[in-house]
Symmetry: C2
Subunit: 336 residues, 2 copies
Amino acid sequence: MANLKQLAQSLGLSITTVSRALDGYADVSAATRERVREAADKVGYRPNASARRLRRQRAELVAVTLPSDPGHIGPPHFLDMLSGCAEHLAAAGLNLVIAPVPRGESELDICRRFVDGRRVDAMLLVRTKRKDERVEFLQSRGIPFVTNGRTESLLPHPYIDGDGFAGFRAATLRFHAVGHRRIGHVAGPQEYYFAHDRCRGWRAAMEECGLATDLCAEGAPLEQGGYLAALELLRQPSRPTALVCSTDEMAIGALRALREVDGGNQISIVGHDDLPMGAFTSPPLSTMRMTGENLGASFASLLLRAIAGEPAEELQELHAIEFVDRDSHRRPLRAA
Amino acid sequence: MANLKQLAQSLGLSITTVSRALDGYADVSAATRERVREAADKVGYRPNASARRLRRQRAELVAVTLPSDPGHIGPPHFLDMLSGCAEHLAAAGLNLVIAPVPRGESELDICRRFVDGRRVDAMLLVRTKRKDERVEFLQSRGIPFVTNGRTESLLPHPYIDGDGFAGFRAATLRFHAVGHRRIGHVAGPQEYYFAHDRCRGWRAAMEECGLATDLCAEGAPLEQGGYLAALELLRQPSRPTALVCSTDEMAIGALRALREVDGGNQISIVGHDDLPMGAFTSPPLSTMRMTGENLGASFASLLLRAIAGEPAEELQELHAIEFVDRDSHRRPLRAA
DNA sequence: CTTGACTCCCAAAACGTTTTGGAGAATCCT
DNA sequence: AGGATTCTCCAAAACGTTTTGGGAGTCAAG
């Protein structure tokens, strides 16, 4: 309730001593320490956060930018992730502020405001691009940050990401193993690292199998984008018998496209993200997801270690992808 | 990048003048004002947030507590709401921090930490209880806050809420109008205002129709709670022909219960919240939802007005409830 | 008695802003 | 010319903490 000065006065001690007593320094006697603690408890004293932050030169804050652009705000797990992250950060005295990007401003503007105004000690970035100006900016400023997703930045930086390459390669190979030969890819915007990575995985598998890699169509990472991209593939003279989709949202759009063409229900499909909604589509959507639980805690841990100064190379987590098999990936394959 | 002192020195001006120039005061000449602004732009000067906050005695922060308890974290709209709120707050120079409640701590502890440590200028509370200790605490401290949901607090406080009473009364009357006489209520925990309010609406309708109000079972505001409560009602000697459920999650649990009893698919059901998942249940779940769009902006506006000192009475929004008719509310009614 | 080590405490500086209360110069009015 | 007013600017205080660099005492050893 009160401030240090009043508390010190009421105890007949100096501000210094009270401050150090509360922080548990050894150079104040056990007796006074106890006396101070009791008095502080009684009046409910809490140090003024702004003053401490100014003096300590720490903002005690971490910001996460929420892209409002296309693709919405990640899967529904996202809030759980943030919540978990915030909880673990709080245990270290840091709070998490959410920073949506208002229209007319770029995410870079947001970063600038937070970083140059010394409003945060670190940042959390989601939805990285291959060449990500936010990453470059933060690196140039030397402020700690962790990204959800890799980039093609030359300097290493901390990240957590799923191994989309391996996941999409495996999914494609699996289709090949059960007889599919024309396997299409519904790709997300290639400027995003995840979309490019997943596309590369599909392409690698196709080449390993000696198959052409022309059955690829790109769209916005949304239902509508998947719908349009799938339609484009289905209009090809020799259309695909299976579709590997960059995200579940796109896969759900692709399912809609399948319903609109003859024999569309013969076409197998798989997505990525494990959206809860996938369990309710018809057919139920087979998908993939990043392994590992309590992602929020991992992000928090990386952030804290980055703030503590650990080198970026040791703060990179690449998680395996696992299949979530429902029904959409095993449509009967008609003889070609 | 630099601080005010350095900027002032490089311009041959005093700190005062530079500060005032940047803030656009009239007592600095247009010429110097421009000169200062240009220099500030060039070096990318931004005032140190902690220093400003200390001096201004404002935290420039608003916190929202995220209940981790039962009932998860509200509907998926929740993140959108927070994002919208944060965006509008940011326009006024305030940032939104999310404060999940770690296990072992109460929401009250969180409030105390934020308020007494002067970490926030205001708070946003969700999931109010009828008698809500957080509300009482914040009122005793005189710190501005807005709740999502009413309380039974004697002192008025700012809130945004849906008119659950009217909504559930209307839903019940609608069942009555099409011939239902045994209309059950799957209730949420009555300590929550929303659950109590909705229960009262159902009860009022039943009494208006001269029907008994014993077909009511309470459960946790989750699928499992709805499942158990519905089973309890279905075991009654004269079981209900329609169910009014406090939340969609509970309604989805109730649907599961219906599938497990003879003739369960004859029983009509309606929920509340308009969860996206409701469109995919079988049958598709009829539900209700609060009217009004861009809820986040409304919360932000109320918060800002509360901070500005407007009286609580003028900061209360009660929104009407609208039906979202899908299929589950119009099961054929067998002659009793 | 002096010296050094140790214990417990404190005054003052510093963090970087905003704001108060003028000061000096120029301009205006009579 | 003399006083009042206006226009620019500034020194210093204040916000509430943490931290630096000792300053008194006390005690044991020399």
